[in-house]
């Protein structure tokens, strides 16, 4: 009993581990898997090519993709195909990160945001506009008008991950 009391006494003088969320927030780890983000290239084109491999890899069947064809007049992503519809049902998603692994263009990344709350089922469906990251500085929003014969490759050259 004494031993137990000692532990209690000791911890009374330790620095508290609790923090005042939501005023204070802890930074997340490098590999934290939060709410998804759809990435863009520097020029603003979407990385996602609408291949639906993420949807195929998803064990919770949370992702829905519909694709359409790019033209140089109206280009969303490099190559021929882009996602015309992209939806993730956050109520279904189990944040396993399989979609990230499956993506051939590193378009979908599980980000840092863990603050997901909704008041209805419909709200839990994140659409493409909600998931796409903002256009980077110097880039153009999509769809873009692009010169012919430049953006012919859907899948960029990939490097092995380093972290």
């Amino acid at each position: 009993m004494l031993e137990g009391l000692m532990t209690t006494l000791k911890s009374m003088f330790e620095k508290p581990v609790t923090i005042q969320y939501p005023e204070q927030k802890r930074p997340v780890r490098a590999r934290f898997k939060g709410r998804h983000v759809l990435k863009r290239y520097e020029n603003g084109l979407e990385k996602c090519i609408g291949c639906a491999l993420c949807a195929a890899a998803c064990p919770a069947d949370a992702i829905f993709v519909e694709s359409a064809e790019n033209t140089d007049e109206e280009r969303y992503s490099p190559g021929e195909r882009y996602a015309s519809t992209y939806e993730i049902n956050m109520l279904r998603c189990i944040f396993c990160g399989f979609c990230e692994d499956a993506c051939p263009t590193e378009a979908i990344v599980l980000g840092d945001n863990y603050e997901l709350s909704f008041t209805s089922r419909a709200e839990s469906i994140y659409t493409k506009d909600m998931l796409l990251e903002p256009v980077p500085p110097g880039g153009q929003p999509t769809p873009q008008r692009t010169p012919a014969g430049v953006f012919t490759r859907s899948v960029p050259e990939m490097k092995d991950p380093t972290d």
């Binding site: 090519i49 609408g50 291949c51 195929a56 195909r81 899948v155």
Partner: protein, 824 residues
């Protein structure tokens, strides 16, 4: 015919196959997989891709004794060549030993794949074939895991090449197997695509105008072992694994091709389940693994926003939406007062179940069961059709086929393809037609007659008349009399109802008089314009020459799946004058516009049912789209007469199509023993398709849902030929200079179920009459002429066509025009 069997050993397994079988097929039959790219079991082998390399050893033969040289154990000594051989070009031989899994073979497969991939983009993520791609599968199985080639050093070619408006080519992905080119030239005689350039720069090009001008083009996308060829319809539509498959039957012509609807729920369609593509489903007795482009692409009518959504009732001269109860009550009341003065007019798009219920209601009323068709003679087809066990795919040496008044390539494309293949196997073909058709080339005899001479021409083949006939008919008649089996196919080229009824009778007579009845692979077939007209005949519906009169006199006319008013001005007049008009339809057709009550119905993809094909094969279709999907209020066609019947005290099944089929089987002898379980039975078929070996047969679906059952024969004997020969009406020429007009049937017609498919619009038949340039000049025809029908004239465009015989004008059906004469 006795087939010599050859025994050989493949991977240690003893196999016996008919002589002449290729090693690759022998292995497949034994369940051993040899990967292929350029070989396809339906095409001649070419040995272009080298993917099928295997080790082949043959027993050493003593030249003196012609016996195998035996080793110490008494087994034949086998000598293996120094090099691997292509399994797809090597026929089996006695005692052969094939090794398909040695290190040498596996290394060769890997090397060939690496070669192929040096010019391949591997953009599987965006490739429409990804997921069902032979190259992808084989690379995963045998290929190198990493590329030694830098991407930039690969061959880079155009990725978006429309070969025509229907088919797109990705030049980079093509692995130059030549399947598409060979399919087009060898199998369907449309050599409109070919190779250009050499080596890695080899490319597929089209040299027709319009591009890829073939009614078979969609099939190349199935057999292309990569994603180089895609249909404009499905391009980037969905990934193959995301779609559900549902078995169905094409109802656009008499062939009744088996197909599969791939469906998916879509955000684009507002969350509805929609059909994404139509794929062939194997049935070696019907369509093998093919579909014509009409069957593949003309399904968009099902999702059209023009579909009727609610029952309509005429109030104050206007059709206004109404509830089902109101509409049904009104019809019931009118039926009661009409009594037996009711006419039921049905079209060939309805299923057997629909026809049965509509027929039962009519019979209970004592009304008339009429079939809407411009071709007659289905009752004769019922009696004379090739019996059970017949298969156009088995015709060969000794078989003769006579095709009369039929542009088979346009009227029943798959029959055309199967006859063409039969000729290749040694069958003889006799074509009798008024104008050149795509069959002439394969015919042993071509008999040309003038339009209007169809029946007389066939009559000249009869044994009693043949002595006085022209030479070509005599020789053709000799061929068909001597034939082991004879199939006669008649169509509707240049024929109106009466003429085609008369022609059917003469064709049947010919079969009877030359002793070609009741034998497998002998009989009469009609190239109906819809999928289930034969079903209509089987279930007791009949065509009548005086349709207009009967419609006009009836107290109540009930029209299902037909648009008489849209097709024929005389019928439109009659329909307008009829007592009360009930229409059950998909769309607000001309006839529906005139109706007093209109019921909305479901398309076949939304419900269950069965069709009877031109060969009297009953085949089942299954629901592909969920109920209450596209048109929540619509009902299946068979339910409507059942609901009305209920109010009249006539017991009919309104819910389950399977139960209706049981009623059919109980009532109609030809259907005896048929039920939905039997229709769903399948058997193993050759070549195997749809397994994990997509590289072998292509992406056609395996038939798991039923091969169908052929109806039983009802009658035999001389009495078959009743009724007596048909008299046809002579039409009065309005002026000395008037050209007679004959109707013809083209594949891409303007029917209600074709028009909503926008992709086909460029190929649809134009509303114009065809006249030969010389004839046009003689008759002083300008770009417009007057088309005369029942005393009235309308203006019509004139199309000059070298294909048209002189002194006549041809008028394609379904363009909303009708006429017997053409005047300047």
């Amino acid at each position: 015919m006795v087939v010599k069997m050859v025994s050989l050993t493949i991977d240690g397994r003893a196999v016996a196959v008919p002589a002449g079988t290729l090693v690759v097929d022998a292995a497949k039959k034994a369940g051993i997989d040899i990967p292929v790219f350029c070989y396809h079991p339906k095409l001649d082998p070419v040995g272009m891709c080298r993917q099928c390399l295997v080790e082949i050893g043959r027993p050493l033969i003593d030249r003196a004794t012609n016996q195998f040289i035996l080793d110490a154990d008494g087994k034949p000594k086998i000598s293996f060549g120094p090099k691997l051989e292509t399994a797809c070009t090597t026929p089996v031989s006695e005692g052969m030993v094939v090794v398909t899994d040695s290190d040498k073979v596996v290394a060769a497969r890997k090397d060939v794949l690496e070669f192929i991939l040096t010019s391949h983009p591997l953009d599987c993520p965006i490739c429409d074939k990804g997921g069902e791609c032979p190259l992808q599968n084989l690379t995963m199985r045998y290929g190198p895991p990493v590329s030694r080639f830098l991407f930039d050093e690969k061959m880079h070619l155009a990725k978006h090449v429309p070969l025509g408006e229907l088919i797109y080519l990705d030049r980079e992905r093509c692995i130059q197997c030549g399947r598409c080119v060979r399919f087009q030239s060898e199998l369907v005689d449309d050599p409109v695509i070919g190779f250009s350039q050499r080596g890695r720069a080899l490319q597929i090009v089209t040299f027709s105008n319009p591009g890829f001008d073939s009614i078979w083009s969609g099939n190349t996308t199935d057999i292309c072992p990569v994603g180089a060829l895609t249909t404009a319809d499905f391009r980037f539509g969905a990934r193959p694994w995301e779609m559900n498959a549902s078995a169905s039957i094409c109802n656009h012509c008499a062939v009744g091709c088996n197909l599969t609807y791939n469906v998916r729920r879509e955000a684009k369609a507002g969350g509805k389940t929609v059909i994404k593509r139509v794929m062939p489903r194997q049935n070696e007795m019907v369509n093998e693994i093919w579909l014509c482009d009409k069957g593949r692409l003309a399904y968009h009518y099902m999702e059209s926003d023009q579909r009727l959504e609610q029952p309509l009732v005429r109030k104050g001269g206007e059709l206004v939406p109404a509830g089902w109860d109101e509409a049904l009550n009104l019809v019931t009341e009118k039926l009661r007062s009409a009594g037996n003065r009711m006419v039921m007019l049905v079209g060939g798009r309805l299923s057997n179940e629909d026809l049965f219920n509509l027929g039962e209601l009519t019979e209970a009323q004592g009304g008339q069961k009429l079939l809407y068709s411009y071709m007659g003679g289905g009752d004769l087809v019922s009696r004379f059709a090739p019996p059970k066990g017949s298969n156009l795919g088995e015709l060969g040496a000794g078989s003769v086929v006579l095709v009369v008044a039929c542009d088979l390539h346009q009227e029943a494309p798959l029959w055309w393809l199967r006859l063409k293949q039969a000729v290749k196997r040694g069958a003889k073909l006799i074509v009798a037609s008024a104008r050149p058709t795509r069959l002439d080339k394969f015919a042993t005899h071509v008999v040309r007659y003038a339009y209007g001479e169809e029946t007389r021409t066939v009559a000249a083949f009869l044994p009693v008349n043949v002595a006085g006939a022209p030479q070509v008919i005599q020789s053709a008649a000799k061929t068909l009399t001597e034939a082991e089996d004879l199939i006669v196919i008649y169509g509707s080229d240049g024929l109106y109802l009466e003429e085609s009824t008369a022609l059917a009778r003469t064709c049947a007579e010919l079969l009877l008089k030359t002793n070609h009845t009741g034998k497998v692979n002998s009989g009469l077939l009609a190239a109906w314009q819809n999928g289930n007209l034969q079903g209509g005949w089987e279930l007791g519906f009949r065509t009548v020459p005086d349709l207009a009169e009967r419609l006009e006199k009836a107290a109540l006319v009930w029209v299902a799946a037909a648009d008489p008013a849209g097709d024929d001005p005389a019928l439109a007049k009659a329909v307008r004058r009829t007592g009360f008009l009930v229409v059950q339809e998909l769309f607000l057709t001309e006839t529906a516009r005139m109706a007093d009550v209109v019921f909305p119905v479901l398309v076949n993809a939304e419900r269950e049912g069965s069709y009877t094909s031109g060969e009297r094969r009953v085949q089942r279709f299954y629901p592909a789209l969920p109920p209450k999907g596209i048109v929540p209020e619509a009902r299946p066609d068979f339910a409507i007469p059942a609901l009305v019947g209920e109010k009249l005290g006539i017991e009919l099944e309104d819910h389950s199509a399977a139960l209706v089929m049981e009623h059919i089987a109980a009532k109609f002898a030809a259907f005896a023993g048929i039920n939905y379980q039997r229709l769903a039975e399948v058997a193993e078929q050759w070549p195997p398709v749809g397994g994990s070996d997509l590289y072998y047969g292509g992406t056609s679906y395996l038939n798991r849902q039923g091969l169908g059952v052929t109806l039983s024969d009802v009658l035999q004997g001389e009495s078959l030929l009743n009724p007596a020969p048909i008299q046809t009406t002579q039409r009065q020429k309005p002026s000395a200079d008037a050209l007679p007009v004959y109707p013809i049937q083209l594949l891409y017609d303007r029917g209600t179920t074709i028009l909503p498919s926008a992709l086909l619009h460029e190929r649809l038949v134009q509303p114009a009459v065809w006249v030969h340039p010389t004839t046009a000049a003689e008759h002083k025809l300008q770009s417009k002429a007057r088309l005369i029908y029942e005393g009235e004239a309308v203006e019509v465009a004139v199309l000059l066509s070298e294909q048209t015989p002189p002194k006549v004008a041809l008028l394609p059906r379904s363009v909303g025009l009708l006429g017997y004469w053409l005047e300047a």
